[in-house]
Amino acid sequence: MEDLIEIRWHGRGGQGAKTASLLLADAAFNTGKYIQGFPEYGPERMGAPITAYNRISSKPITIHSNIYEPDYVVVVDDTLLESVPVTAGLKSSGAIVINTTKSADYLKKVLKGYDGGIYTIDARKVSMETLGKYFPNTPMLAAIVKVSKIMSDEEFINDMKGSFKHKFAKKPEVIDGNMKALEMALKEVNKIQ
C-alpha cells in the first residue's frame, strides 16, 4: 500500500456516502491503519450533492483539509456525473468507481477523457437482492475496497461483521443482509476496458 491513500465520495444527501466513508475508516482502522473519515458539510438536505473523504495511511496523518487530488473517487449516484466534476484532480494512477448501469461509451464521454481505471457496479441490483431496499452505500463500500486493495476481501469481510454488529446494535436483523450485500458487491465490480 502507498504511504497515503486519499478517497473522495460523491453522493446525494440520504444515500449514506458519509456513513460509507466512516465505515471504510473503521475497517481500515481495524487493520492497524491511521485513518480520517469526514464529510464536507454544506447546506445539506435529502437529495443534494454531498462530498465525503477518507485518508488512510500506515503513518500518522496530520493534514486537515479537504482532498483535491484523490487516488480514488466513488460515485454513489450516477445522476451526479453530468452535474458534478467528479474526476476533478483524480490521479490517473488511481480509479473511479461508479454505481451505474450506463454504457461504457456514455461513461467515457461524461468522464471527459479520464485515463485512469473506470469501474462500475450495479449497487441497486446488489442492494435490492440482498436487502430488499435501495441502500447503495454498503455495495459501494465493498466496491472501493475491492478496487483500491486497501485490505484483502477476507480481512474486510471479517472486520465488517464486527462493525455492523456495533452499528446495527439496535436492529440486528439487518446485519445478515448487509453482509450478503458486501460479499455480492465484491464479485459484481466490473472494469471498463
Partner: protein
C-alpha cells in the same frame, strides 16, 4: 496502557467528560458542539456517570447554572460554539471574576452574521480578554488530553480561573481519526477529587458570592485575576509534565515543529497546524528550512517564551482565523508582535487572515505563505504586513 481507538473530536471531548464524571453538566445545543452534550446525556441515561445533567433553555442559562454549581462547591462543565458563546458573554465574565474553575468545551465556529455554521476562531477571539484560560487543540487527541488536564489547571489554588478547551468545528469535531484513550480508573486518579476551599454550601463558613464591588475594591480584584492568570502558566506546565509522566504525550505552552534550525516559520493554532506540519515535511525535503510554532496556551499568552522561540528566524507569518476588522491585524498577530517588541526581538513579521467561515485551508495555500516568507528574506522588503490567505478576489 493507552487504548487505541478512533473517535471524532466531539466524541473525544465527550469521552473525556465521561471519564472526569463531573457533578454538573449544563448545556444547550448549538452546531457544531451539539454532539458533546448529546453524547453526554446518553452517558447520564445509561448510568455511566452520576452527573446532574441540566438541559437548560439557553446558553446564558447554561453558564449561569455552571456558575451556581461551582459556587455551591461542585465541578461543572459545559460545551458550546459561536453564538452560544455570544449569548453566554455576560456570564463568561461573571464566571472568571468569581474565580470559578468551570471547564468549557468550545468547538470553534464563526460568529454570525451573516449566518455561518462553519469553523473559524471568531467565537474564541471575542472572549480573549474575559479572564478565561484558553487552550487550543490541533486534533481529537489534543482536545481529549487538554480536557483531561483542564480541572487540574483551573482548580489549582494559585489559579482558580475558568478554562476553555478549543478545537476546530467540523474539521476536527466531525472528523473520525485515530486516538489514544486512557483507562477510566487512571483518569479518575489523575483528575482527582474536587475539594474547594470556600463554597456556598459549607455551613461552617457562611460566605457571599458575587456581591457589589465598589470603587474601593474592584480594581484590586481585577489585579488578583491578572495575577492568577500569570500564575496559570507554571501550573499548566506542571500539570502537563505530570500528564506526560502518565501518558508519554508531551505538552508545553506551544509546540515547536522543526523550529530549532528553521529560517522561516508560521505561527498558528488548532487544525491548520497539522496541515502546516505536512507542508513543512515536503519543504524540508526540498531543502527549505521551514518551521512551525503551534500555540497551545493562548491565555495566558506566553509572550516572553514565544518571542524567544521566534527570535532566530529571518521571517515569520502569523495566521489568524478571525479578522479583528480593525485595520491593524488579527489578535494573534498583535499578541505576537507586541511580545516581540517588548522582548526587543526584531524579526520581520506578516499577518494572514485565513479560513474565515469554514473556507478550506489547503497545503498549497500554506506553501504559498512559506514562498512569501522566502521572498521577504530574499528582498528584505514587506510591502503589506496585513494579508489574506485563500480570499477570492475579483478578476482584474
Amino acid at each position: 496502557m493507552s487504548i487505541r481507538e478512533r473517535l471524532s473530536g466531539n466524541e473525544a471531548a465527550a469521552t473525556a467528560m465521561k471519564q472526569i464524571n463531573p457533578d454538573v453538566v449544563a448545556a444547550f445545543p448549538i452546531t457544531p458542539s451539539t454532539e458533546i452534550p448529546q453524547y453526554f446525556s446518553t452517558f447520564v441515561d445509561n448510568g455511566l456517570v452520576d452527573t446532574e445533567f441540566v438541559a437548560v433553555e439557553s446558553e446564558h442559562s447554561a453558564m449561569s447554572a455552571c456558575i451556581g454549581a461551582e459556587a455551591a462547591g461542585a465541578r461543572a462543565m459545559t460545551a458550546t460554539s459561536a453564538n452560544g458563546l455570544s449569548l453566554m458573554w455576560e456570564m463568561i465574565y461573571i464566571a472568571s471574576s468569581l474565580r470559578l474553575p468551570i471547564v468549557l468545551s468550545l468547538v470553534n465556529r464563526a460568529v454570525s452574521g451573516p449566518l455561518n455554521i462553519h469553523n473559524d476562531h471568531s467565537d474564541a477571539m471575542g472572549v480573549r480578554d474575559a479572564g478565561w484560560i484558553m487552550l487550543f487543540s490541533e486534533n481529537n487527541q489534543e482536545a481529549y488530553d487538554n480536557t483531561l488536564m483542564a480541572h487540574r489547571i483551573a482548580e489549582n489554588e494559585n489559579v482558580l480561573l475558568p478554562i476553555m478547551i478549543c478545537q476546530d468545528g467540523f474539521i476536527t469535531s466531525h472528523s473520525i481519526e485515530n486516538i489514544e484513550l486512557e483507562e477510566d480508573s487512571e483518569v479518575k486518579k489523575f483528575v482527582g477529587e474536587y475539594h474547594p476551599k470556600h463554597y456556598l454550601l459549607n455551613d461552617k463558613e457562611p460566605i457571599a458570592v458575587g456581591p457589589l464591588d465598589v470603587q474601593s475594591y474592584l480594581f484590586e480584584h481585577k489585579a488578583q485575576q491578572a495575577e492568577a492568570m500569570k500564575a496559570a502558566k507554571d501550573v499548566i506546565l506542571q500539570v502537563s509534565k505530570e500528564f506526560e509522566e502518565w501518558t508519554g504525550r508531551h505538552y508545553g505552552l506551544f509546540e515547536e515543529y522543526k523550529l530549532d534550525d528553521a529560517e522561516i516559520a508560521i505561527v498558528c493554532m488548532n487544525s491548520t497546524a497539522g496541515t502546516t506540519k505536512a507542508v513543512i515535511d515536503d519543504l524540508r525535503n526540498q531543502g527549505v528550512k521551514a518551521g512551525l510554532l503551534k500555540l497551545r496556551v493562548y491565555r495566558p499568552f506566553p509572550g516572553e517564551e514565544v518571542a524567544n522561540a521566534l527570535s532566530h528566524l529571518k521571517a515569520v507569518a502569523v495566521l489568524d482565523k478571525a479578522d479583528s476588522l480593525n485595520a491593524a491585524g488579527g489578535a494573534l498577530f498583535e499578541d505576537v508582535t507586541s511580545s516581540m517588541y517588548v522582548a526587543k526581538k526584531q524579526v520581520p513579521i506578516v499577518n494572514y487572515i485565513y479560513g474565515i467561515g469554514g473556507r478550506d485551508t489547503t497545503s498549497k495555500e500554506i506553501t504559498t505563505v512559506y514562498n512569501d516568507l522566502q521572498e521577504i528574506v530574499n528582498t528584505g522588503k514587506i510591502d503589506n504586513p496585513y494579508r489574506y490567505l485563500g480570499l477570492r478576489r475579483e478578476e482584474k
